[in-house]
């Protein structure tokens, strides 16, 4: 059974390797400081005790006032899974460092997070909109996507529960 590290366990691992890297912890996750992120993850990957070598999952979450990027990293030999998070504040130009130099497999997932959330990953070798086309208006997975300029696509209004259609013209019965 894979041991899912609690936030404090993960924080202890990270603190032991890179002091001062942990921002805060929750029950399930450990928040890292963005400026120490790459360094910390590299140390955790290379350390034989932590051995967090496999970046399983990387995704963004929109919390209205800030974005979180979630990293699920696991170890094959120790068979444990840790959840790290990084916060990016600001809706205009949220930016977190890219972990692609540490985990090659992150590049596509970071592209996806950039494509759908608009989170910029500093240091990514080739950040482009991987699923949508270049010049797509807005960032679809943001919570305010439908209110964005050009964000409302035909047909999406009904899904959001907001009828944006014109009222049908009243037919005059003679």
């Amino acid at each position: 059974m894979t041991r899912e590290l609690t936030g404090s366990e993960a924080a202890a691992l990270a603190e032991a390797l890179v002091p001062g890297s942990v921002d805060r912890t929750t029950e399930t996750a450990c928040y890292l400081k963005p400026d120490r992120l790459v360094e910390t993850l590299r140390a955790l990957r290379d350390d034989p005790d932590a051995n967090l070598v496999h970046l399983t999952n990387l995704c963004g979450v929109d919390y209205w006032d800030h974005f979180e990027v979630v990293y699920h990293i696991q170890s094959f030999e120790k068979n444990h899974l840790a959840c790290f998070k990084v916060e990016a504040w600001g809706r205009e130009n949220p930016e977190v460092p890219s972990v692609t130099p540490v985990f090659h497999g992150a590049w596509m997932q970071e592209c996806e997070a950039y494509d759908l959330f608009g989170i910029r990953f500093a240091g990514h070798p080739n950040l482009y909109r991987i699923l949508l086309w270049e010049g797509y208006p807005g960032w679809p997975l943001r919570k305010d996507f439908l209110a964005m300029p050009g964000g409302l696509q035909p047909g999406l209004g009904e899904f959001a529960g907001v009828a944006r259609r014109q009222e049908p013209p009243v037919k005059v019965i003679e």
């Binding site: 090659h104 679809p140 959001a160």
Partner: protein, 369 residues
Amino acid sequence: MTGIIKSEPFVINIGPQHPSTHGVFRIKATVDGEKVIDAEMVMGYLHRSMEKLAEERTYTQNIPFTDRTDYLSSMSNNLGYCLAVEKLAGIEVPPRGNAIRVIMAELQRLASHCMAIGAFANDTGAWQTPVMWAFREREKILDIFEVTSGARLTCNYMRIGGVAFDLRPEFEPMVRRVLREFPPFIDEMEGLLSGNEIFIARTRGVGVLTPEMATNASLSGPMLRGSGIAWDIRKADPYCGYEQYDFDIPIGYNGDSYDRFIVRLEEMRQSLKIIQQALDGLPGGPFRTEVPLALRPPKGEAYARIESPRGELGYYLVSDEGPSPYRFHIRPPSFINLSALKEMTVGGTVADAIVVLGSIDIVVGEIDR
């Protein structure tokens, strides 16, 4: 042919309309003669923004979406999603439900690997014969799905807390038939392809992934096991009671396309073993825990993963105590398995690139979601 003269490299679009991209997927390959010197992936032709749509629906309503991501293994996708919701809401599944889930997931693995192996053989140029044989066997499994869930491809069978319906009386003989008829088929495929000199020449040493590379590129499933890493979520992080069943993890030697192929073939044998055990020890009792239709899980997050036929299929859910997930993220195995595509194809020929793509076993519905 190449290297004789200073030839001008030119870009060749493999896809989106190409017989071997298994859907609308495109590789922009820069080739020098027949040698690939750069490969860039273009995807998103099938993007439906499922993660956004799921945020507008209740937890139960989202199950059909998961069918449509990886349409070749809808049962596994249902299962992964339901596990994530159950983890988030703390719901226990009765033993019969778990056993049915295991049988279904393994049958789905058989069906999906049939497709993967057949299509892979087609990519190496075996003109339709292996894929037809594989389809013949896959039909039997799809028939079982049809009897059980009413649908063949997008089954929508798993429910939060169990499965949708109990098994029908026809189910067991049909599965027994599969158990009886699959081993000869796998042996047949082995005779047709595994020992075939041309097949070996085409796939041995093509698209080699070292274990370090495979780990660092976040690969999973047969891609990882082909490189010699013994990692299977069913063993490492058992769900649905997989710890009760006796099976082995097949792992490859060099991490080339051939190893991925034989790993898939062996996984089918192991799946049959699991189905046999699960069917023999199928417990009675309820098949589902009753959960409210408008489920409101407590505030929090959950990441649950299963071993889908293509690799680690994870669902990351965030709940804000609302009736629909606040964040619904799929970790699609075939999308992430593509992250090493460039490294595997560059340096080989165009024909090798096709073989590598076939050995990854992509499903475009899952890549684009």
